[in-house]
């Protein structure tokens, strides 16, 4: 064995051990959940029309949120990665607010915003407070910040010279963005969309405060878990949590496989 080989092995072992510790923790959590509840509790949860409704609303609202978040995060990430402008530091700090703020505060802030004159005017056309659009807006407020962060990093990792070359080859700035920058950021877009989707699916605090917890109306899966917990129905709460884990895992797996397929061409 060449000298130093043992130390290399030790390093790899240490790295794997530390990383594996966390993976092990998550696996243990899911396993403990599964052991606590029973397959019949999961079955009962899946038959409950309230839970079925919550699954549906969760999937649809999270998907809508992911799309909306991408619409905002791609331009925002691009601007932050490519341009210097006055107030950039401020804009950057503002985007952090939904990430650092306690989720309940986001919900309360939304409520307050929609009590202002402008908020009421908007609600004249489309009611947000305690309604489904409110679920999506509450999810979006937090999820878009994560998506924007992801997109900014994605664009920063792309060589701006490629866009510069595209400009000399006859593209407008918009053309260079659509033909060069965005395709190169495709993995970033996918990562941002899945991040936003996953955040939206798990979002609870702002949804509860801003959209309420009305059964068959604004109840998403985390709300179901909360409602069941609040009456001491731990088995059902955990069964619903496991349903969430399974649904989220399946969707993210499909998206990542599809993304890897598309990314493989690059």
């Amino acid at each position: 064995m060449p000298p130093g080989h043992a130390r290399d092995r030790l390093f790899v072992l240490a790295v794997a051990l530390l990383g594996g510790l966390y993976v092990g923790l998550i696996a243990a959590l899911v396993f403990a959940d599964a052991a606590y509840t029973s397959s019949s509790a999961v079955g009962r949860a899946l038959e409950d029309p309230n839970v079925r409704f919550a699954i549906r609303l969760s999937l649809l609202s999270s998907t809508a949120t992911a799309v909306l978040a991408i619409w905002v995060a791609v331009p925002l990430g691009y601007v932050l990665a490519r341009f210097q402008f006055p107030g950039k530091i401020l804009a950057d700090a503002l985007i952090d607010i939904p990430i650092v703020l306690p989720p309940l505060v986001v919900g309360v802030s939304l409520l307050i915003l929609f009590r202002t004159a402008a908020g009421r005017w908007v609600e004249g056309f489309l009611p947000f407070t305690y309604a489904v659009p409110g679920v999506i807006l509450a999810q979006f407020t937090v999820a878009a910040a994560f998506a924007a962060r992801t997109m900014r990093v994605a664009f920063e990792q792309i060589n701006p010279r490629a866009e510069a070359v595209a400009l000399t080859l006859g593209c407008s700035r918009a053309g260079a963005f659509w033909r060069v920058a965005l395709p190169e950021a495709r993995r970033g877009v996918l990562a941002a969309a899945t991040m936003a989707w996953a955040r939206a699916l798990g979002e609870f605090g702002p949804v509860l405060v801003f959209a309420g917890a009305t059964r068959m109306k604004t109840e998403v899966l985390p709300t179901t878990v909360y409602l069941e917990m609040s009456v001491g129905n731990l088995e059902t709460a955990i069964a619903v949590s496991l349903v969430m884990v399974a649904v989220a895992g399946a969707v993210l797996l499909v998206v990542r496989l599809a993304g890897a397929g598309a990314g493989g061409r690059a």
Binding site: F53, L57, V67, L208, R215, M216, Y226, L227, V231
Partner: protein, 264 residues
């Protein structure tokens, strides 16, 4: 072109989401001809209220929308003039007093009363007051500043008893259900909760202690002053208080029916 494709593709996904949301019977504009009342209901009362709402709907044809939350959250919702609600049903009548002072609701109708008990996981032996305050048991209480059971415990116990219990308390939880969950999950050995919430859990043993005898609370329903459907709302509150209707459902769920409202 590329921009257009991108936009259309994502917009199609979005439109699909909204289409399915809109097509859902629970989410569409709804049948506005049918009378509908909105009940702001404490999360802890979810069990009996869901069954009462169902039977009220089939008896009267009036739809009941139950909006669950913590009492404080519900109070905030009640004071939002833009989203009128009809009935305010917090876990404790003190919230109704505050709402009445702000002229948000009329008088409360007493529904059920609750009594504090100590719970342990079976097959643990029933603890005595001495066990509870000895420090050998891990004890959970609800936070007196936010939860009714905690506040009533602090108010009603003799000062020396409160000091002893406070000293022996391992953790304060924000709601009574959190205390119950902590005991069920084994995080603590014993907890102080309302008797009514214990019944659905055969794994728990509820112990009445003389020291806690004075720790009681009363659940009341109040009609919102600006509620859009006063007539239907009146019917619902009467239904809730009717011993053969709402009362029966509360009794089945383990609640004690309250006597007429009296000042505490």
């Amino acid at each position: 072109m590329r921009a257009l494709h991108w936009f259309l593709g994502t917009a199609a996904v979005l439109a699909g989401c909204f289409f399915f949301l809109q097509s859902d019977p629970g989410l569409g504009p709804g049948d506005s001809s049918k009378p509908r009342i909105v009940v702001l209901c404490a999360a802890g009362l979810k069990g009996p209220l869901e069954s009462i709402a169902r039977s009220f709907e089939s008896d009267t044809g009036i739809a009941v929308e139950l909006d669950f939350g913590g009492s404080q959250t519900l109070f905030a919702r009640l004071s939002d003039p833009h989203r009128p609600a009809d009935v305010f049903l917090p876990a404790d009548e003190s919230y109704i007093r505050i709402a009445r002072e702000k002229a948000l609701v009329g008088g409360g109708t007493a529904l059920v009363s609750m009594q504090a008990v100590v719970i342990v996981r079976k097959p643990a032996s029933p603890p005595t007051w001495a066990d509870l305050t000895s420090g050998r048991l891990r004890v959970a209480q609800a936070d007196p500043s936010v939860a009714a059971v905690g506040r009533r415990t602090q108010e009603a116990l003799a000062p020396a008893d409160w000091r002893a219990l406070n000293a022996a308390t391992t953790v304060y939880k924000p709601t009574v259900s959190d205390v119950l969950n902590a005991v069920r999950l084994g995080g603590v050995d014993a907890g102080v909760v309302w008797d009514a919430i214990v019944l659905p859990h055969p794994d728990l043993l509820a112990v009445h202690l003389p020291q806690l005898a004075g720790v009681t609370a009363r659940v009341e329903a109040a009609v919102a002053v600006k509620g859009p459907n006063p007539h239907a709302t009146e019917r619902f509150v009467r239904y809730l208080a009717d011993p053969t209707r709402g009362g029966a459902a509360f009794r089945t769920a383990g609640y004690a029916i309250a006597g007429p409202a009296t000042a505490r």
